[in-house]
Symmetry: C2
Subunit: 136 residues, 2 copies
């Protein structure tokens, strides 16, 4: 059987990710990247947590999460504080401005998910997401 690049799951995954990023950026007046969005939503879920733990909970290594947190801080959405009980840790938490944004972020995220899955019917989406989740 001939090898066709266009039928390989890795290649198609890359294309689908690209389309998702495009849809995300399309109607993003928030000035957040998909990665920053994930980290910010996760901070809201977890409350205050260490930078490295936030990275683990968003599947970013220590170098990546550092940059993401730096940029979220620069935009005023999160703040950094030392952990009184552990001098190694930098605790990340939402600023007031970040907290006020969360509901809007959720709505935004839902619409991006909806746009991305538009080519699939409701029942297909369920099956697809279940299978995709198994590939993580």
């Amino acid at each position: 059987m001939v090898y066709k690049l266009d039928e390989q799951v890795g290649y198609i995954l890359r294309l689908a990710s690209q389309r998702h990023a495009l849809l995300f950026n399309k109607h993003s007046e928030l000035g957040l990247t998909p990665t920053q969005f994930s980290a910010l939503v996760r901070v809201a879920e977890m409350g205050s947590c260490s930078q490295n733990l936030l990275g683990r909970r968003t599947a970013m290594d220590v170098a990546t999460i550092k940059g993401v947190v730096t940029r979220l801080k620069a935009k005023g959405f999160v703040q950094l504080n030392p952990d009184p009980g552990d001098k190694r840790r930098t605790m990340v938490s939402l600023t007031k401005m970040g907290a006020e944004l969360i509901e809007q972020l959720h709505d935004f995220g839902k619409s991006v998910t909806d746009d991305t899955l538009a080519p699939l019917s409701a029942s297909e989406r369920k099956v697809f997401l279940e299978m995709l989740t198994r590939l993580t």
Copy 2:
């Protein structure tokens, strides 16, 4: 309904891509990244073609494909030549070394695809790839 990051298609796509990259790198004695692999396989499919066209056919913008081609050339898998009929173009083609590698690349690609899709049955794989393709 509450917004759950872990159920959003964009986030799960990122996780699945990460796992695929991990599997790709795991048994890669070729020293190629997934992106370089895609470009190299595509060059083999297309024969000689311009750098920008190669980028379009592998879903990479002009800046990205330039870096990829540069690194493939440094590794000795492709060569660059001016197009006699169009002074703007840089034509990319396989070197002898690159051509000798292609069959091995195909086998390698198949096994990575297989590993990535391992959590799905044969019939599920078919359905999944069809749906994923629709999201590109």
